[in-house]
């Protein structure tokens, strides 16, 4: 299975009925493809939509119905639209039950850096700072390493997105959470050993007695 698929499928298992969920761009978007049958979740697009549906078929697109990247989407029955103040009221006010975002770095306490590389890439934080600060649950979907280098570090070298720690990291190798503010290995991907995760992680990981395989 591709790394992205592993990550997206595993995160989809965190969805619960009635949740309001915000998916970032990149790998997080893929989570929508693995919603369990019959589970009603609300996907928010921060440009002003709850009830985002799949890309409409050719000829059925409308210029006023798009995702946060400006690409055409559809709306499911029961969808609703709103202005950007409401959209971020939902986000900052704790009404978004879960957000899934990409990450550049996460530190041993769960602090995230995901919005800039000084001097190189300055896209702006968009909604990321509000999402990490305000969503009830923050899940980071990312590859475990970048060009062979760990992305889960003792301390982030890049500017932080928020001082609020994330709740969960899901990579193609492992699931990591932060009970009592400490990075803790929860699950490994099928075929990945605990030692392989430790080797690919700079942050010191707490390792409980039992580490089950990811359920995909």
């Amino acid at each position: 299975m591709e790394a992205q698929t592993i990550i997206a499928k595993r995160i989809a298992r965190e969805l619960r009925p009635g949740m309001l969920v915000n998916l970032g761009i990149g790998i997080p978007t893929l989570v929508a493809n693995y919603v369990p049958d019959g589970l009603n979740v609300y996907f928010q697009s921060e440009n002003g939509l709850i009830g985002t549906g799949p890309i409409p078929e050719e000829g059925m697109m409308h210029p006023t119905l798009t995702d946060a990247g400006g690409r055409p989407v559809s709306a499911l029955p029961g969808a609703c639209t709103f202005d950007s103040a409401m959209s971020f009221g939902l986000i900052r006010g704790g009404h978004v039950d879960m957000t899934v975002l990409g990450g550049l770095q996460v530190d041993a306490k769960g602090l995230l850096a995901n919005w800039m590389i000084p001097g190189k890439m300055v896209p702006g934080m968009g909604g990321a700072m509000d999402l990490v600060t305000g969503a009830k649950r923050v899940i980071i979907a990312m590859q475990h390493t970048a060009k062979g280098k760990p992305k889960i570090l003792e301390k982030c070298s890049l500017p932080l997105t928020s001082v609020r720690p994330v709740d969960l990291i899901v990579t193609e190798m492992a699931v990591i959470s932060f009970p009592e503010g400490r990075a803790t290995l929860l699950e490994t991907a099928p075929g990945v050993s605990v030692q392989q995760v430790i080797d690919a992680t700079e942050a010191r990981l707490a390792i409980p007695g039992t580490i089950p395989d990811m359920c995909l």
Binding site: E46, N47, P63, A68, G70, G126, V163
Partner: protein
Amino acid sequence: MKTISVKEAAALIPDGASLMIGGFMGVGTPERLIDEIVRQGRRDLTVIANDTAAPGRGIGKLVTAGLVRKTIASHIGLNPETQQQMLAGKMEVDLVPQGTLIERIRAGGFGLGGILTPTGVGTVVEEGKRRIDVDGKTYLIEIALRADFALVNAFLADYRGNLYYALTARNFNPVIAMAADTVIVTADNVVPVGVIAPDHVVTPAALIDYLVTNA
């Protein structure tokens, strides 16, 4: 409210003006007005908007034409020209978290001096700002933002200027319509008074200064 041609509308905007512009990646941006501003040419504009769209689209056209001296936005990642002009020192860019940006604009339009937000506490966004504790939680004081002009796009406008927005083209439009000294609107459709039900009017006509005719 006065009706006005797109040429006259663009001519209202002087060099150096600050413009709040509706749209999210170009969706809901008053494209005809942007095109006319580019055609007429302007210097040293300040643009306040969610993003700078992409080259050839919406606000991206102002950037490409070199009309923008300063941008206040939450995201410029999909317009490499904005990033190039910023890194080359040709354009000043003030990056603001999206939720903070829209609340600062709203505060400007709603007569508030600013808002207390947890977003940005402990990050580079905090630099130069006042912090304040309320009930043991720390917030940044983010101050109100206004502009000389709001350039608004609506799906429907009635003859008086009541506005209705469609789907995700709403975004920043109704908020900026409150926060500028002069509000100029382009509408995809102009309709008789009463076509938009009272509950469906999002921006009341009394806020609009100029409605651009479709002629």
